[in-house]
Subunit: 317 residues, 2 copies
């Protein structure tokens, strides 16, 4: 079975060299996932390909690890161009093994939309990744919608990736080391961001917009019934039920969630057409990710959808 | 099959009459679940019993709906005594149909522990309910541990019930009506509270302490693998794995979560011994709750555990 892993991260040496003052900028979120381990670097792609071979993964859909959302707009935009050029050049060398999502810097929304278009039309990238809040703001704020408008027009998905909770949210998560990260806080941040996108009416304005959530949907599939059990709020004027947006506009990847009970919940809540295989390289083990999806309790046809068919359609691979 | 529903709320007329200035006190959280519909009142118990009969529910384990945690300590303590006396008197009339959890006001920790002891030993109540944060503080703060110490000594559980996110957490949830409530924010609040209790070492100090979470565990079962996928933090000195505390010290009720994918996730993540049937009356339909658990995909033996055996053991019914 072909296996395409869709949330696999990288950095470039240029990313780090472009950062001001040895990454000591206050715009970089503390603990913000900036890992420069050798196998993470795009410059060491052979190490990655070997790990993919050993695990039985045919293709990585690559995306920037650390993100650029917390940097100054001009610098962020500059870095995304450098990162996307390097990414496209690397993919060109291994087109059967690699595809990529663009880095964009929505703190300059127009520039981010333009860089997305350049990355897709000129560089052959397949969408973009956003690492949750933009300097404390969520993208339900209409000033960012030009990015989503462009993504819909280009028919490419946006991967809404977590990071530590936004400044207005983070304080109660700082009480214990790690609580603001993968343990709990990442999901609190990205899940809330996704809920706000839905409630804002974004998908009524851009009904064909596609958003991907990692980590088995940041617990949204578990909540799909309760989130609308109280019925529509009179103040809310959405065209569809909240759960419908998640079933019709969202995809859910298995990144960093090699847990059969959660996969089965997601599978029965949203269906095989909406799930994408992912590892979350280099944070998680590729071999463990493959073992996890191979041992999932579902028919081969649905496993094929999750392992490659859905990704082939969504990213036009 | 006997059905005991364990998160069924009530208010008393005295509760409202004791509140200052028509509940306009700033200590009451906005939207804080203060519903005075007739069938919610302990004074109208016959309405409740009829609904239970129609749905096929044998017993309600009753708990205060609005909570007292945001009131001044002296008033909160006064109200809990009134509420618990009224609750015990009502239960005395229908001992086969009703049991109860005490209201306590942890803003005076010693008084709350004493009221818990009085409620259990003198009034025959079976534990206590706490509606999450105590005026912005979480109960991982050791100043509240005397309450947990007493609960362990009395061998009764504490029901950790949600409310709107604490003041340090709530701002990003206020962007849309309802987002801070059952739709998403309640779980963010109560799930975080539970995580903080575990990370604090509370259960190493009180290893036999029992905590109940509603709403299918506020999404914690979905997260049970990922919450420890990064391994133990060097700063953390817990005796067990994080997931072990949830499997060994926590119970998870079905209140307000009539969603088979979530039940199956919880069932396969923590097992039938840890799940309790609940409706979340009057917020949810008792008939729907019964239909939900009756149609669950599991053996009759496990269904018996969830519907009554676990509750009989935990509450000594």
């Amino acid at each position: 079975m072909r296996r395409i892993a869709v949330e696999e991260h990288f950095v470039t040496d240029a990313y780090f060299s472009l950062l001001p003052g040895k990454m000591s900028t206050p715009h970089v979120v503390p603990g913000g996932n900036i890992v420069n381990q050798p196998d993470h670097s795009l410059e060491n792609i052979e190490i990655r390909l070997k790990i993919m071979d050993e695990a039985g993964i045919d293709m990585h859909v690559l995306s920037i690890g650390p993100g650029v959302e917390q940097l100054d707009a001009a610098l962020g935009t500059k870095i995304t161009r450098s990162v996307n050029d390097a990414l496209a050049a690397t993919i060109k060398k291994y087109p059967k093994r690699l595809a990529g999502l663009a880095a964009i810097a929505p703190q300059d929304p127009a520039a981010a939309a333009d860089e997305l278009e350049r990355a897709v039309t000129k560089l052959g990238l397949k969408g973009a990744i956003i690492k949750s809040h933009i300097q404390g703001e969520y993208m339900d704020n209409p000033k960012y919608w030009t990015v989503f408008e462009r993504a819909e027009k280009l028919d490419v998905p946006i991967y809404l990736h977590p990071k530590e909770p936004s400044p207005d949210l983070i304080k109660p998560y700082l009480a214990y080391p790690g609580l603001d990260g993968a343990m709990w806080g990442y999901a609190a941040e990205a899940g809330l961001h996704a809920m706000r996108l839905v409630l804002s009416g974004l998908f009524d304005k851009y009904p064909n917009l596609k958003i991907i959530l990692g980590h088995m949907g940041e617990a949204i599939p578990y909540w799909l019934w309760r989130m609308e059990s109280k019925g529509p709020s009179p103040e809310r004027k959405l065209k569809r039920k909240i759960s419908q947006y998640f079933k019709e506009n969202f995809y859910f990847s298995t990144s960093g969630m090699f847990f059969q009970p959660a996969l089965q919940c997601c599978y029965t809540a949203v269906g095989a057409d909406r799930i994408l295989f992912a590892v979350d390289y280099p944070a998680e083990s590729s071999a463990d990710g493959v073992k996890f999806i191979d041992s999932a309790n579902m028919c081969d046809g649905d496993k094929e959808k999750i392992c490659h068919i859905n990704a082939e359609k969504l990213f036009k691979l």
